[in-house]
Amino acid sequence: MAGTESLRDVTLRPWPAPKKEELSQEDLFLQIQQLTTERGHLRDITEKSLHEDIAAGKDVPDEAKEDVESGAKEKDAPTKQEMLEKVFNAQREMYGHLEWAKFAAENALDLISLVLSQDPNKRSAASFSHTFREMGLSQGIPFGSFGISRENHEFHVRKPDEILRLQEQEDRQVVAAKGSRMESLDSAVDEILKAAKKLEKEVRRETKYWKEIVSVSDKGWPIQRLRQNARHVPFGVRYGLPEASDHFKARGFAPLNMDKDGSIILDPALRLKPKTFRVRISENGRIIGTSQLPIEAECKELPIEKSIQLARDSLLEEELYHEMSLETRQLLAYGVEFRDSVIHVDAPRMGGTSHSRKLLIDCIPRDDSVPGGQERSHDWLAQNVAEALRLLLAHEHSMRLYRRSQLPPPLTGRAREKPPPPLLRTLLAVFRHLEGVGSLHVYLETVARTLNSAGLDVTLTTTLETSWAKLTESLKESSKKGLSATDQLLDVFMKPFDGRATLTLPSWSGQSESMTIATRTIVGQPTFGTEHKLTMPSSLTSDLGLFQELKFSVVEEVKSYIDWILTLQIAHRLVKSEYSSRVVIKTHGQRVTIVSRGTKKGSTASKDISVEVQHGELKVTATAVNPQEGAEDSERVHTWNGQKEAISLKEVVKSWVE
């Protein structure tokens, strides 16, 4: 305790400060830095607080205290001499180490350089150390005079402990090698198993893919190798129709992708929703009939062949719609309109109904079902129109092939124009023809019935369309080679339609003079519609002073003209020939005057017989000309309208005139 007692007065002082009193700027910074690291912030460091800290003995490490205590006890203060000696010693020691390091490094360098200098290419004095150059090379040590070789230790006898160590090491290596080999074998087995599994999967996948390919091919779809040999898409299927127009032909091909499990994935082109075109019949804005294809079941569960077939069908329907929408541009004059992607076609008014009936044709997804609650009374018509249009496009396809296989015309500067296929035009022509011929024939039949009931001999033969009538014969003796019967059959519809009706003129006796009405329908040049050509016998025309051939474009005109002709025939030829001497023709009308044989001579009573054929009715009017005869029977009328009548025209006129 005495030591501690003696230390009581010792104060700690800093290392003697440099001589100069004022700190340089750098020293000041150092001090500040020291302070901040030791005490945190500068703000709390005041002289007072430092004093308090010292007094409290805070922040002094224990060892430092002891060191201070012991050091202070042993060497009170090292003398300057000792300090210098210590520094010198340290310096010397350091130099010694450095020398050693340099020497060893140079030796190593020299050794390597000397070894390397065996090779003349690496023989350079600069690679040796300075010392060796001076002391060795210049003294005559030749290059390449030092060699290194591997030593054979075969007969080297090792010390037992070394042997033991080596043995142990070897054993350990063997064990380690065994372990690692086992591990790698393990992983190899894993890999092989994995590969086998994968191979098995691949084989299963390929088998499945090929099985499906074969089944697609067996169904008759042409399979084709893809040009770019993509890995999962080796094949494609061509399902488009071979003679479709270019755009649709290009769409008619789809690659058959391979799925993960090998089944064929549908290509996007195949997976498109199949479309169909739809014909609706609207009457006064109300839909009364819709065409429809059978709706297929859920798309996802279909086998591949089925979806290929659906895609093919859809392609045909789309092409049909496309061609028709192009065709509408030419047919505006015929009442065909294209509005909101719907083709509006005026439908015929069959049976004289006054409803405005229209066909609406559009293209819809095939799955769309017809909303219920619609009137289905004209589904048959819509369905037939749709089927007819499909047939026409199919016919156009085979005609394209036929035209393509004919000898091409020699090349000229003018490009050959490709007319769009007549689809709507054919439809329109059929409608118009049936409408025109139908109403005309209905009228002619009424007239014929009326005239027959009036005792006039009339026969009527009608043909709706001449080439349809003799279709079988024309097909049988056809000379066109390379066209199937179906195409020849459909080819009939591409030609102008010819209807023909022959009506024998009314006569008392069986002599036959007949007039012919030929109806020709072309949507295009030269008639642009229906034309009725009326041909009359020359005897009639010469008698009445008429033209032998007349052309009409409207059925109403034909009707009224035939009415007029029949009137004239009956009045001017039949009645006139019957009462040949007594007939006086005053006007060029439907009126003839017959001078009756009076019972008394001198009093000549004459009657005007007026004949009128109108709307299938025959009306005969007799009017007394002589006013002095009295008006008791001034006008008598008899009408035939087709019902069975006992009395004939001849008898009626006779009864009046006699």
Binding site: R404, L411, S479
Partner: protein
């Protein structure tokens, strides 16, 4: 009308294969064609080459010679009869049938059966394809042989048959055919047979049975260079397409010569020597 032509040869063994390849290329089925061709020779003797230059010497010294035109050459012409296999006779056929004569009558709307074919020598120009002028006149009525004998006047030379298949690929008409002839009777004949002999009795002209591959583009506006170029390029494109299947080549121009050769008359030698050259 001008024809642009390229020819190739197909050995008999490859015929079926080429037929199938062509069906794929042209995307159509082959069209079977059997034809009879009858060759006529003009009766007038051709003039000696260069004789027109010597003719009509003038005494006017200063008159410049007008443009020297070549002597109009005389050409062999052909009659072509389109046949079907049923039209061939049963047996070999008699060489002369005086009772019947050929008839080219066809009904309205039918394809003409007989036509007269004139083919010029191919042009000398080199465009990579053979170009020649041709003219086809369809005969619609009458006796074609009598017509040919009277017009010209011509004399009958020989007749032969061509059978093959035709394809149309764009504007290229592909005609794969071979020539048949009736053996033996050629020298005796003086007129074409009215009914052809049976098809089986005909023999191949080339006994190896090789087929001639003819690719033809017909050009109407020969003077329009763009039209001609498009025709030539289409034919060459086809030639390239067929490379490796059938090698199409430009035929030797003179092998397609249809001109009647000038033969010097059998005059005594003294006569020719007397003519000053």
């Amino acid at each position: 009308m001008h024809e642009l032509l390229l020819y190739g040869q197909v050995p008999a063994g490859r015929h079926d294969q080429v037929l199938k390849i062509l069906a794929g290329v042209a995307a159509m089925q082959p069209h079977r064609i059997v034809e009879r061709r009858i060759i006529y020779k003009p009766q007038r003797e051709p003039e000696e080459p260069g004789s027109n230059l010597r003719r009509g010497g003038t005494q006017a010294v200063a008159v410049k010679q007008t443009k020297q035109t070549a002597a109009p050459a005389l050409h062999y012409t052909k009659l072509v009869q389109r046949l079907s296999e049923e039209e061939f006779g049963i047996d070999a056929g008699l060489p002369h049938e005086n009772t019947k004569s050929l008839s080219a009558d066809v009904h309205d709307g039918q394809e003409p059966v007989w036509s007269m074919l004139f083919e010029d020598v191919p042009d000398t120009g080199d465009r990579g394809v053979s170009i020649r002028f041709t003219n086809t006149t369809d005969l619609l009525s009458g006796d074609p042989h009598a017509f040919m004998m009277a017009s010209g006047p011509n004399s009958f030379v020989t007749e032969y048959y061509v059978e093959g298949h035709r394809y149309v690929h764009g504007n290229v008409v592909i005609y794969l055919h071979r020539v048949l002839h009736e053996p033996g009777v050629r020298n005796l004949q003086e007129a074409p047979k009215v009914t052809p002999p049976s098809f089986s009795s005909l023999e191949l002209l080339d006994p190896s049975g090789a087929y001639i591959f003819e690719a033809k583009v017909r050009v109407n506006e020969f003077n329009n260079s763009t039209v001609l170029e498009s025709g030539v390029s289409e034919l060459k494109k086809f030639q390239k397409e067929m490379k490796g299947c059938v090698e199409l080549a430009l035929p030797d121009r003179l092998s397609l010569d249809t001109r009647v050769k000038y033969k010097p008359p059998h005059a005594p030698a003294a006569n020719t020597q007397a003519r000053p050259r």
